[in-house]
Every structure is written in C-alpha cells, then in structure tokens.
Amino acid sequence: MEQERKIIIESEHVSKVFDTPDGEHEVVHDLNFSARENEFLVLFGPGQCGKTTIINMIAGFEQTSEGKIMAEGEKVEKPDISRGVVFQSISLFPWMTTMGNVEYGPKIAGVKKKERRERAQKYIDLVGLQGFENSFPNQLSGGMRQRVGIARAYCNEPRVMLMDEPFGALDAQTRYLMQEELQRIWSTEKRTVIFVTNNIEEALYLADRIIVLTSCPATVKKEYVIDLPRPRDLVSEEFLALRKEITGILDSSQWEGET
C-alpha cells in the first residue's frame, strides 16, 4: 500500500557537473529516486558527496547538468513556494524578529496582517517558541534559530519540505532534542519531507525510507524501507541491526569509490 501513494518529487537520471579550475567535477551521477506523498524520505550518505547539491536542485536554486527533477509532474526550473527549504546554515533574516521571519512568506504573498499573524503564531507554537516572537535571531540559541527556520518553511504551507542537514551545526544534545521535535512536528503536520544527513542514527530515527548514496559522485547505492514503530527506540535490536547493516554498506561503497 506504501507504493500506492502519489509521487510528489521525482529525480530522473540527474547528473551535476561543476567546472572547477582542475577541470570538470561530477558530484551527482545518474540519480534516480522518488518521494511519495507524506513520506519522510532520508537521503543518507557520507560527507561531501553532493547531498546539498541534490537539495539545491530539487529546490530550484541550481540547475541539473543532465536529467530532470519533476515536482508533481512539472519540471523544476526555479524555486517555488510548494517546496520549502530548511538550511544547514539556518539562514534566517537577521534583521527580522522570529515573527517577522515566520510570517515573511505569507506577507510577500499579500496575506492580510491578521490572518498571517494567526498562521505564523500557529507554527511558532508548533515549534515551541511562544514567548520569543519578538526576539531577533542573534538573541536565540542555535537550536531555537533552527526552530524558527522550520516554522518559517512550514508557515508557507509547502507541499514538500527539503531539509539539508538541518541539525548539522548543532551540538549533540540539541541535535537529539531537535530530532524528537521534528518527529513530533511531522506527525502533527504531515508533509512530504526529503531530509539529508550523514548521521545514521538521525536517518533511522526519522525515516520512512532511507536512500543510501555513494560517495562522490553521489548516486543511489541502496534503499531501505524502515517500518519500525514511531517514536523509535534507538537501542532496540532491530534498530541496531539496521544501523550496523547500513553503516557496513556505506563503508564498502566508500572503499569502492577509492579504488
């Protein structure tokens, strides 16, 4: 029945080549995968393997060199409000308060003040930032900033959320907390999520499905459907077994890449 759900994002034979002073550098090679409606899809791979480039291409920030990305049947060419992005660098608007950041999307779309305030407040509450509406980003901790980043993306009510190692810059404790928070938010506000990480525990904790990517250039190595019950027990036998297996194939794929 999983397979019956509508495909929202589809990557068709996507490659990406960058021109560098040392010649052409392929970071993504013939990448094929799809994300279905309301699915939490994790792209898991080693560091520096073009994962951010993949997110940037799905978002429409960057063009593919070959192949195409389809979003609900339309070719992705530029950013669109139907695809929200949560950045690793967080990238809030530093001169705007929490409220200003979260209501930015509806505001530039011309939504009336009362309505957009209510909507923004809903998402500020959802990420647990009530009381910090008038704080500027530089007055918030890293974890709180990324909550604003998540609320800002959600407030535009996109069809798909693209998350590029959103917790990569946080300390381990905060990161763990944010994973739980995201799991809770996702259960309340179902969306298709494409989540990029190089942390296997994070991947297994959040994913419906994990796509394991090879090291540079990135391509699909293997796919796992994770049907463990949520919220997941990080030390259950199944969890640890999967963790071991996926870490194992990642190691060998890196090794293959080097020969």
């Binding site: 001169w95 530039i108 530089n138």
Partner: protein, 261 residues
Amino acid sequence: MNEKVKETMISAICAVISIGAFLLLWWWGTHFTTLSKLMPDPVTVFSSLIEYCVGTVGKCSLIVHMLNSLRRVLIGFLLGSLVGISLGLLMGRYMLARAIFNPIFRFIRPIPPIAWIPISIVWFGLGEQAKIFLIFLAAFANTTLNAMTGAMSVDPEIINASRMLGAKERQIFTTIVIPAAVPSIFAGLQVGISSAWASVVAAEMIKAQNGLGWTIQAGMDNNNMTQILAGIIMIGVVGFLLAYIMRKAEEVMCRWNKSGR
C-alpha cells in the same frame, strides 16, 4: 553590566581630565609664553563664544550662522546620500548598473569636494546652490561605495531563503537586499556626514554672507582671532554632534546586527 558602567565612568573621567589639561595648557601658554601674541586665552574665547551666541557676529548671532550651515548640510546631505545609496544599491545588485556606473564613479570619488568649488561657482553662481552642490558631492561620493558593497555581500543563502518563500526579484531587492545593506550604508553615512560638514565650512569660506565658514573667514579678514577660535569651536562641537546622532541612529537601526544580548 557592572563592567560596562565602570568602563563608561573611566572614559568620562578621562575625557574631562584630557580636555581640562588641554585648556589649562592653553591658558598657561597664553599667560606665561609668547603664545599670547598668537591667540587669546581660553577664558576670553569662551566668554566671547557665549557673547556671539546671544549677541551677533556680523549680521546675526553665532547660533543663526550655525543653523545656516546646518541647513545647507542637511539639504545637500539628504539629496547626496539618497542618490548615492540608491545608485550604490542598484550597482551592488545589478551587474549591468555596476558595469555602467562603476568606472565613472571610481574616477569621481577620489576628487576632494573642495576641488569642485571653482566649477560649482561657474555653474551655480555664488548662492546657496553652489554650496549645496558641494555637500551633495561629498555625501554622494562617500555613500555610494558602501551601499554597493552592502548590496553585493548579502549572503546568497538568505536570498535563496527568500526565493523559496516566494519572493520575486523586486521583493528580493526591497525586502532582503536593502535591509541587509543597512549596516554597510551606515558606515558610508558616518563618513559622509563628516565630509559634508567639512565641505560646507570650506564652501562658506570662499563666498558667503553667513554660516560658520563665513564667521572664521570674516575673523581672518578683521584680524579677530577670538572670532576665528569661537567659530572653530562651534564647528568642532556641531561636527561631533552630527557624528554622534548618526551613531545613535545606527544603533537603533542595526540592533539586530549586534552579537549577543
């Protein structure tokens, strides 16, 4: 917080001491050395300063002279920085605007405002317009480059964030590029206001019926050192206040840019 109070106290005390020591040295010099041949003592200067403020220097009081200078500066500075900032922001955001205006601008910028005095007199005569034109140039030259740098150095990821939230190019410019450039713009305004103030004095020294520049020029013509010094002190005080107001405006506008609480 306590540390900060302490710091402010120390700098306040030091300011009083250093200014006091300077005045004392001046006083001592005019009473016990040949400095008395060159300039009057501080007591005479400051009492004359007050007299000039309540009484008159030439046709009006020193305060009115100061207000005349201030009016010229504010008009010229407002126009100059408005044009400078607008042009700078466009040059920062749009490659074509940069390609067109940057070469001319790079050439004009190093020319000191006072070098324009002859041209300004030929073009605008000896009236207000010539002086305002000079201040305009001073403000323009100092604000454009900073606004351009500010608009160019906006974090591209922040621009991407606004795009994924639905911002069109015009909205990116007005809601992202302009506010992001504000700290950089203020850096230009700081230099611009000081340079504009310096230029008005220079302009008034050439040909004027009033203004602080006229005051010191007239003092020289009448060999009245007290009047020159009173004018100079007034120029210094107002210049200091203008820079101070600009700094405070920056603090309010750029609250978000300060790290920590």
